[in-house]
C-alpha cells in the first residue's frame, strides 16, 4: 500500500468490493495526513471483532445515569399545562393563582394572549416546518400551553390545576381523509415554512396550501404516463399506513440549570451538539455559554432529534426561578406529544414488459404529520429499481393532531410497504419468482448477494404458490428489500488524547443512544494504537468535547469513526517518533501492536506503549480531527449533510403462519441480510438489526396510534392501550452481514439502524399473501384486518 505524495494529498490503494465475493484494489486520492488504508476486517485485531459494549456494565448494574436520574442541589420540578381541546382560542389565561400556590417558584406561559411565547412545536424556524400564525390558539389536544416549576412534582401539578384558561372551542379535524375534504375545518390559514430541518421528513419550500392540503411536491424523470401506456403489464394498488408511536422507554426529559455564566442542559437527546445550537438560538446565548450533557440515553428513534417546547419551557423556568429545573414527560404526555410516524395513503402504479423490465413507476401519496409537515413516502420508489420513467406527487395534509417527527427510516418505511408489495404483485403477473424479478431490475450487487444468501438461509425453494396450503393454519414465505442513503455529517470532530501514563481518551460530543457508538469509537482507536478497546476511556455525550454528529439518519458511525481513527493515527505517529530514537530506528519502521511499540524490521527492538508514552514532554498529546469529504466524493452534499456514493442495501426474508380462523399472524422466522460498509462490531450490529425487525414487526401487525374523531384526543396514549411487540412476538432472527469495502473513508463504516427497519413490514405482507392468497394493503395487519380480508371485505 505504497503512498505517493502529491502536495496536500496522496494516492492510496484500498480494498474494494464484497468480502468473500470479489475484492479488488481501487486507487483514491486522500488528504496527506489521513490515516493509512485499513485492511479488510480479517486482518485486523479490534475492528470487526466482538467487543463488549463500552457502558454495558453501567447499564446492567443500574449505575448508568439517564436524564431523569440527574439530581442537582436545589432542583425544582416542572409540569406542563396542556390544551384539553384539539383546536381552541385562548380568550384569557390567568396564572395568578398558580403563582401563589404553595411551593411554586416560577410560571412560564408558552402560548397565550399575554404569554409572548411561541406556539410552534419548536421555537426554531430552522428545525420546525410549521409555525402558528395566531399565537393564542391551541392547534391540537395536548399542546403545551404553560409550565410551572415548584419544589415537588406534586406541587407543580397542583399549581397547573390553578391556571385558569378561557377556551373558545374552534372547529377541528383530526382524520386525514376528512381533513382533505372540501369544507373541512382549516388548521392553518397560513404557513411559514423552512426547508432542510427536522420535520417528519423532507419538506419542499414554496408549495401551495389549499384548505389543509399542501402540495404537490413532485419529481419526475422520463415520461411515466408513456411508460405505463407502453407496458405489457401494469399493477395499480392503493396502500394505507397508520400512525406509529416511537415509544422510547425513557421519556423525553431535561434538567435545565441556568446560571449567570450560562445554561447547562442535561437532556435526553439524539444530538447534544444540535440541542446546544437550538438552545443558544432560542435564548440568544453564544454557543460557548450553553452546555448539553447526555450520559446514558434511553432510546430516541427520531423523536429526540430536536429539543421540543418542553425543554425550552424548562430552561425558561430555570432562568426565572434561578434554580435547576427537572421536567420529565410522563408516559401519557410522551405518547400524545412526542411525535409519531405519519400515516399515509398511497397509490402506486408500476408498468413492466414481459421480460420484467420496468417501463414506469408512478406514485401519488398523501400523508399527515398533524400540525407539522414532511409526511412523505421517501425515495424507495424512485431509486430501488432500474426505471427510466418515474413520477411522484406528494401532498401533506394538515390536521389538528400533534406534530409527527422523524421515525426510524422516515418516508422509506411506508414507501417500501407499498413498493415491495407492488413488485411482488408484478412478479406474480409476469409469472416470475419475486427474487428472479428483482435480479433483473435491481442494479445493486449488494442486494443481489443478500438475496442469494437470504434465500438459501430461509429455504426459499420450499415456497409454495400463494394460498396453496390446506388447513386452518397456513405458512407463507415472503421477502422485501431496503434502500437507505449512506448518510454522513461533514465537519463533526473527534479528539484523541494520550496521557503520559499511557492512558488514552477519545472525546466527542456524539451521544450513544443505545446503538453502541462509544464501543466502536473505542475499537477504532484501540486498533490504531495497538491497545484493547477497554484501554480507551470513552468521553462522549457532552458539548464540552468537540462537536460530534447527531444520531439520526443512520449517520453517526459514518461521521465520527473516520475522524476518531485519523486522530488516533496522529497520536500513534507522535508516539512512534518518541520511541524511535531510543529504539534506534525510524518512526516509519515502528508499529503499535499488542500494547507495544515495536520495530517492523527487527521485532526484538520494542518498548511498551506505556514506556513510549512516558517519553512525552508535558502531560498529554492531543489530536483533533474532523470529518472531511469521502475520498471518492459524495453523491450529494447540502451543507453539512452528505450522502456517500452508492446506498445501503438490505434484504429481509420472513416466514409466517396465519391462522385463518382467528386471523392471527405469527412471524416465525426472519432472515435479515444487510450491509453497512465495513462492519465494526458484529454483536451490536446484530442487536440493531433485531431492533429494526421488531419495530417493523410492530408496525406490520400490532401498532396504531389512534385519534378519536369526536373529541380529537389520542385514544391509546399509554402502554396499556398502545401495544408494542414483546418477547412472545419476537421471531427467530438470523442476521447475515456483508463486508462491503469501498475505500471512501478512514473506516469505510456506515450505519444500519434504518435499513434494518425498512423491509420488515412489506416482507411480512408478502409472506401473508403467500400464506393466504389475499393481499393486505393496509396497516396494521391485525386480526380484524385479516379476518375482514379473508371474508373478502375491505
Amino acid at each position: 500500500m505504497a503512498a505517493q505524495e502529491q502536495g496536500s494529498t496522496r494516492l492510496e490503494r484500498f480494498p474494494s468490493g464484497i468480502f468473500g465475493v470479489a475484492i479488488e484494489q481501487v486507487e483514491r486520492t486522500v488528504p496527506a495526513d489521513e490515516a493509512p488504508p485499513l485492511a479488510p476486517n480479517a486482518e485486523l485485531r479490534r475492528i470487526g471483532k466482538p467487543a463488549r459494549r463500552w457502558n454495558g456494565e453501567q447499564k446492567v448494574t443500574g449505575a448508568a445515569r439517564y436524564t431523569a436520574d440527574v439530581v442537582l442541589p436545589g432542583m425544582l420540578h416542572a409540569r406542563l399545562l396542556r390544551a384539553p381541546l384539539p383546536h381552541a382560542r385562548i380568550r384569557a389565561l390567568d396564572v395568578d393563582a398558580a403563582e401563589r400556590a404553595p411551593g411554586v417558584r416560577a410560571v412560564h406561559v408558552i402560548v397565550g394572549p399575554h404569554g409572548g411565547g411561541t406556539a410552534s412545536a419548536s421555537a426554531d424556524e430552522d428545525v420546525q416546518a410549521t409555525r402558528r400564525v395566531d399565537e393564542a390558539v391551541a392547534v391540537y389536544a395536548g399542546m403545551a400551553v404553560a409550565a410551572v416549576a415548584a419544589v415537588s412534582p406534586e406541587a407543580a401539578e397542583e399549581a397547573i390545576r390553578r391556571i385558569k384558561v378561557d377556551w373558545q372551542p374552534l372547529p377541528f379535524v383530526v382524520d386525514m381523509d376528512q381533513a382533505r375534504a372540501d369544507g373541512a375545518p382549516v388548521v392553518f390559514q397560513k404557513l411559514a415554512v423552512s426547508v432542510g430541518g427536522q420535520a417528519a421528513g423532507l419538506v419542499q419550500a414554496d408549495l401551495p396550501l389549499k384548505g389543509n392540503v399542501r402540495g404537490p411536491a413532485t419529481s419526475a424523470r422520463g415520461d411515466a404516463a408513456a411508460g405505463l401506456a407502453a407496458a405489457d403489464v401494469v399493477v395499480d394498488g392503493e396502500y394505507r399506513t397508520q400512525a406509529q408511536s416511537h415509544c422510547c422507554l425513557e421519556p423525553h426529559g431535561i434538567v435545565a440549570d441556568w446560571r449567570a455564566d450560562g445554561l447547562t442542559a442535561y437532556l435526553s437527546t439524539q444530538s447534544a451538539a444540535g440541542a446546544r445550537e437550538e438552545l443558544a438560538r432560542a435564548f440568544d446565548l453564544p454557543l460557548s455559554r450553553v452546555r448539553v450533557v447526555v450520559e446514558a440515553m434511553g432510546g430516541g428513534f427520531g423523536s429526540k432529534l430536536t429539543i421540543g417546547p418542553y425543554a425550552l419551557a424548562a430552561a425558561a423556568l430555570s432562568r426565572k426561578a434561578q434554580a435547576p429545573v427537572r421536567l420529565t414527560l410522563d408516559r401519557h404526555e410522551e405518547q400524545i406529544d412526542s411525535g409519531y410516524r405519519p400515516p399515509t395513503w398511497q397509490r402506486l402504479r408500476i408498468g413492466a414488459r414481459h421480460d420484467g423490465s420496468v417501463t414506469a413507476i408512478s406514485s401519488l401519496s398523501y400523508g399527515s404529520a398533524g400540525v407539522a409537515l414532511g409526511a412523505g413516502v421517501g425515495n424507495v420508489a424512485s431509486r430501488l429499481y432500474r426505471c427510466d420513467n418515474f413520477d411522484e406527487a406528494h401532498f401533506d395534509v394538515l390536521a389538528n393532531v400533534g406534530p409527527a417527527c422523524a421515525m426510524r427510516a422516515p418516508g422509506a418505511v411506508p414507501g417500501a410497504f407499498a413498493l415491495e408489495q407492488a413488485i411482488d404483485e408484478l412478479a406474480e403477473k409476469l409469472g416470475l419468482d419475486p427474487i428472479a424479478l428483482r435480479d433483473r431490475i435491481d442494479p445493486s450487487p449488494l442486494r443481489r448477494e443478500e438475496r442469494r444468501l437470504g434465500a438459501e438461509r430461509i429455504g426459499w425453494s420450499r415456497r409454495h404458490a400463494a394460498g396453496a396450503e390446506p388447513g386452518p393454519i397456513k405458512t407463507g414465505l415472503g421477502m422485501a428489500q431496503s434502500l437507505w442513503g449512506a448518510n454522513v455529517q461533514v465537519g463533526v470532530a473527534c479528539e484523541v488524547r494520550l496521557f503520559r501514563d499511557g492512558s488514552v481518551e477519545v472525546r466527542s460530543s456524539v451521544q450513544d443512544i443505545g446503538t453502541g457508538t462509544g464501543t466502536v469509537l473505542a475499537q477504532v482507536v484501540a486498533e490504531e494504537l495497538g491497545l484493547a478497546p477497554q484501554d480507551v476511556t470513552v468521553r462522549i455525550g457532552d458539548t464540552e468535547f468537540p462537536a460530534g454528529p447527531g444520531s439520526g439518519g443512520s449517520r453517526a458511525t459514518a461521521s465520527i469513526t473516520p475522524p476518531a481513527r485519523n486522530a488516533a493515527d496522529r497520536i500513534r505517529r507522535q508516539l512512534c517518533a518518541l520511541a524511535a530514537a531510543s529504539l534506534g530506528t525510524a518512526p516509519d519502521d515502528l508499529e503499535a501492536r499488542d500494547g507495544r511499540i515495536a520495530s517492523l524490521s527487527d521485532p526484538a527492538r520494542s518498548m511498551t506503549f506505556r514506556e513510549a508514552a512516558a517519553r512525552m514532554d508535558g502531560e498529554q498529546l492531543v489530536a483533533l480531527s474532523s470529518r472531511g469529504d469521502d475520498y471518492a466524493g459524495f453523491r450529494a452534499r447540502a451543507g453539512a449533510s452528505a450522502a456517500a456514493l452508492g446506498d445501503l442495501g438490505g434484504v429481509q426474508f420472513v416466514e409466517v403462519t396465519v391462522d385463518v380462523e382467528t386471523g392471527l399472524v405469527r412471524v416465525e422466522r426472519v432472515v435479515a441480510a444487510h450491509d453497512c460498509g465495513r462492519p465494526l462490531n458484529p454483536a451490536q450490529l446484530e442487536s440493531q438489526v433485531h431492533g429494526g425487525v421488531m419495530l417493523g414487526l410492530g408496525y406490520a401487525l400490532i401498532e396504531q396510534r389512534l385519534t378519536d374523531r369526536q373529541t380529537g384526543r389520542i385514544v391509546n396514549g399509554d402502554f396499556e392501550g398502545y401495544k408494542v411487540p414483546g418477547a412472545f412476538e419476537a421471531p427467530k432472527i438470523d442476521v447475515l452481514l456483508l463486508e462491503n469495502y469501498q475505500g471512501f473513508s478512514a473506516t469505510d463504516a456506515y450505519g444500519i439502524a434504518e435499513p434494518a427497519t425498512i423491509p420488515t413490514a412489506p416482507a411480512i405482507a408478502n409472506a401473508v399473501y403467500n400464506a393466504i392468497g389475499v393481499r393486505l394493503r393496509a396497516l396494521p395487519m391485525n386480526r380484524a384486518a385479516l379476518l375482514a380480508a379473508l371474508a373478502g371485505g375491505p
Partner: protein, 211 residues
C-alpha cells in the same frame, strides 16, 4: 385505599361483590374474584384496626438490598418513587408508571414486582432487591455478565427490570427452556428489540451454572 374499594359504594348501595354476582359473570371468574376480594377485605379489616397515616410524611423502614433503610415519605408514594427519590436507587427505572412495561421491576422476597404499582408503605418487612443489590463485592451477578456478553441491551432503560425478572426466573427454574424465558420476560417492553439476545443471555447463564 384497599379498604375503601372493598366497602359498598355509598350512593348505589352496590359492592363489587354484589355487582359481579349480579352480572352473572362466569362462575369460575366470580370465584377467583371472591377469593381475591376476601383477602382484600381481610386487609381492609386489618387496616381499620391500625392507625390511619398521612397525608403528611410518615417514617418507613425498608429492607433494601440487605440493609435497613429509613425514610420520611408521604404514604401515597409508590415504592418506585421512594427507591428512586429518598433512597437514591435510580437503577430502578420508571417508564410507564402503570405496571404495563415492567421497567421498574424489583424483587420482593424474591418475587418480581412492578415497583411503580405498589405503595412503599405496603411493603412492610419484606425484603427488597433492586438492580443495585445484585453484584456482590464488586463482582457482577452471572446474569449481568451474560447480558453484557450477549449484548442483551441497547439503550439499557428496560435492562434493570429485565435482569431482575430473569434473576427470579433462574431461582425458580434453574434450567429454563426458551419458552420459560419468554414467559418470564413477556411483561417487559424493550423498544430496542433486544429480546432475542436477552433469551440467549439467560439460557447461557443457566447453562454456565449447570457447568
Amino acid at each position: 385505599m384497599a379498604g375503601k374499594k372493598a366497602r359498598a359504594h355509598p350512593a348505589s348501595g352496590l359492592s363489587r361483590r354484589s355487582f359481579l354476582t349480579g352480572t352473572g359473570a362466569a362462575t369460575a371468574v366470580a370465584a377467583a374474584f371472591d377469593a381475591a376480594l376476601s383477602s382484600v377485605a381481610q386487609a381492609a379489616a386489618n387496616a381499620e384496626e391500625s392507625q390511619i397515616s398521612g397525608p403528611g410524611a410518615v417514617a418507613v423502614a425498608l429492607r433494601v438490598n440487605g440493609i435497613l433503610r429509613t425514610a420520611s415519605i408521604e404514604p401515597r408514594m409508590t415504592l418506585a418513587e421512594v427507591l428512586r427519590g429518598p433512597l437514591a436507587l435510580t437503577g430502578v427505572k420508571v417508564a410507564c408508571d402503570q405496571g404495563a412495561c415492567s421497567a421498574c421491576t424489583v424483587l420482593i422476597d424474591g418475587t418480581p414486582i412492578a415497583s411503580c404499582s405498589l405503595l412503599a408503605v405496603d411493603v412492610g418487612d419484606r425484603s427488597i432487591t433492586t438492580i443495585e443489590g445484585l453484584a456482590s463485592d464488586g463482582k457482577l451477578h452471572p446474569l449481568q455478565e451474560a447480558f453484557i456478553a450477549h449484548d442483551a441491551l441497547q439503550c439499557g432503560f428496560c435492562t434493570p427490570g429485565l435482569v431482575m425478572s430473569c434473576v427470579a426466573l433462574l431461582e425458580r427454574i434453574p434450567h429454563p427452556t426458551e419458552a420459560d424465558v419468554k414467559a418470564a420476560i413477556s411483561g417487559h417492553l424493550c423498544r430496542c428489540g433486544s429480546y432475542p439476545h436477552v433469551v440467549d443471555a439467560v439460557l447461557a447463564a443457566a447453562q454456565a451454572r449447570r457447568g
